[in-house]
């Protein structure tokens, strides 16, 4: 605010310190709970139950091992299988639709897009309750495929909208160049559009993975023995000692933290599409 050459007033420095303080406080508000819960997940029981040790000083893997032995190993595996199936199904169905919205002009496009946007707002968890009767009839109840099909319903509107916006961002001139050199639509898509869209699509796939990984209501309603990790935590791990619960929370947030780290560039735009 001050003109060059003039020494800024002391108020300026005070404001800067105040501002830095607010920034640090905001970041601490987000980071501290994560850090504490991770430290507690690896804390020895002695340190956790000692009122003196605010931050545990002795660490162990035994909480994680006990949790895995309780059935979390299988539940984690189930979660991964369900999430991978969800990514495959929702991309197989959603990617073509996203491409159509991005690259074609056709009658009813706006209404269809609005329909997808509307469906994305639908509380998908409610389908789980009545789905049970259908699943029992089809033999899909308490199966990972059944959960993945329900998760696909939840993820599909997002996948359509996200892939569509990714394809829109691929310069159409490059596709036109492909046509000029005699490629047909399929070849152009496979050799030009897809490779250019790949980084964005990868981020979208991880995003879908996390969506399924985090979902608890449908998974808890649709499974009984084949629990996914969040459903397992809700039904079994809540009876375990506290430090075992913290170990569960650590496994739950691990993929999310990895995702934030590798795909942070895409995170905001992806959530922007999710909510806009």
């Amino acid at each position: 605010m001050s003109t060059p050459g003039e020494t800024p007033p002391i108020r300026y420095y005070l404001l800067r310190i105040l501002f830095a303080g607010i920034v640090i406080l905001s970041c601490t508000w987000v980071l501290l709970p994560i850090i504490i819960s991770i430290l507690y997940a690896f804390s020895t029981p002695q340190d956790f139950y000692s009122p003196k040790e605010i931050i545990p000083l002795h660490y162990t893997l035994s909480n994680i091992q006990k949790l895995l032995a309780l059935g979390a190993a299988r539940a984690t595996m189930n979660s991964i299988i369900v999430a991978v199936m969800t990514v495959i199904f929702s991309f197989a169905l959603g990617l073509p639709a996203g491409y159509a919205f991005a690259r074609f002009a056709f009658k009813g496009k706006d209404s269809l897009k609005l329909l997808i946007i509307g469906l994305r707002m639908f509380p998908m968890l409610v389908i789980a309750v009545p789905l049970v009767t259908l699943y029992i009839r089809l033999g899909l109840n308490d199966t990972l495929l059944g959960v993945a099909l329900a998760h696909t319903t939840m993820a599909l509107p997002f996948v359509i909208l996200i892939t569509s916006s990714i394809f829109v961002s691929v310069p159409i001139e490059l596709e036109e160049a492909g046509y000029v050199f005699g490629l047909d639509r399929k070849q152009t898509f496979l050799r030009i559009t897809l490779p250019l869209a790949l980084p964005g699509l990868t981020a979208a796939a991880i995003f879908t993975f996390i969506m399924s990984w985090n979902e608890v209501f449908m998974a808890a309603v649709l499974t009984l023995t084949n629990r996914t990790l969040p459903a397992f935590i809700l039904t079994s791990a809540m009876a375990a000692p506290d430090i075992i619960k913290f170990a569960a929370s650590f496994i739950m947030i691990l993929p999310a933290l990895i995702f934030v780290f590798i795909a942070r560039r895409y995170l905001i735009s992806m959530w922007g599409i999710t909510v806009k």
Binding site: F19, V23, S26, C27, V30, L31, P33, I34, I36, S37, Y40, A41, P51, K52, I54, L93, A97, A100, F101, F106, L112, L114, L115, I116, G118, M121, F122, L125, V126, I127, V129, P130, L131, V132, L134, T152, T153, I160, R185, I210, N214, E215, V216, P230, I233, L234, M238, D242, K245, F246, S249, M252, I253, A256, L257, V260, W271, G272, V275, K276
Partner: protein
Amino acid sequence: MSSNKQGYSLVERYLPYLLIAPALGYLLFFIGYPLTQGVLLAFTDQNGHFTLQHVYYLLYSPSSNFWPALEDTLALAAAIIPIQIMLALGFSLMLSANFKGKDMALYILIIPLTISDVAGGLIWYSLLTANGFFNKLFMALGIINQPIQFFGYQFRPMEFIAIVLAEVWRATALVFVIIFAGLQMISKEYIEAAEVFGAGTWTKLRHIIFPMLKPSVQTALLIRTLFAFQVFGVVMVLAGRDIPVLAGEAYYEQTILYHYGVAALYALIIAAISVVIGYIYIKMFKAQYLREVTM
């Protein structure tokens, strides 16, 4: 290729519909079928005859938790959403300034976007439980003599606070992303023009930034309200059924009591509330979308 041209363009004309049809068909089946089935479950008895017994159970049975669940769901929303909007506004204004480490701060603030409600609940449990971080910290500092109890039926008001803290911590990022995007769309010219006329920080906020942020705040408000009626994991982790919520009761009636009709009724109620909120949202969005298209 020219002999083929007619057929080619015919395929081209129907191609977008062919590409969209599988996804749309899947969605319509997996939403339409359960909804129809849900109505059947909610309004028929075992013999398939029409009945209102599930409705009566839901509304009047002493073992039904519907009214407390509705009340607590609304109370949680009323406690959580205003704090989230204000915090998100604060974060957005903070990050609209230029400073060193701004990108870092932005990434940190959006980390909770990827954290599930179950994990968010557990994380706050590790902070608030009797042997948790805050109790140990405040005891070491001599602020309290014995741990503050947050969990257990006799501490329901504290459980409520724990849920509010966990949800504000976890889901504010979502509100922040919406409002921050809205803030970045405000043209710098308006603000510069105001500065030319000598507007101070407060005047700029009050007369330019807040009015122009109104659409984003409305969007954030609606989406958060929509999600508020689906709140489940964080409540189950931190309070179980001590604080009943609509989705939690649906889960309980379905998986513990096997009252499929009642559970379906809960599902339909959540769906109906969401459709109403969603309808308002779509109308707003459509107006905005059309404005963008015509502009």
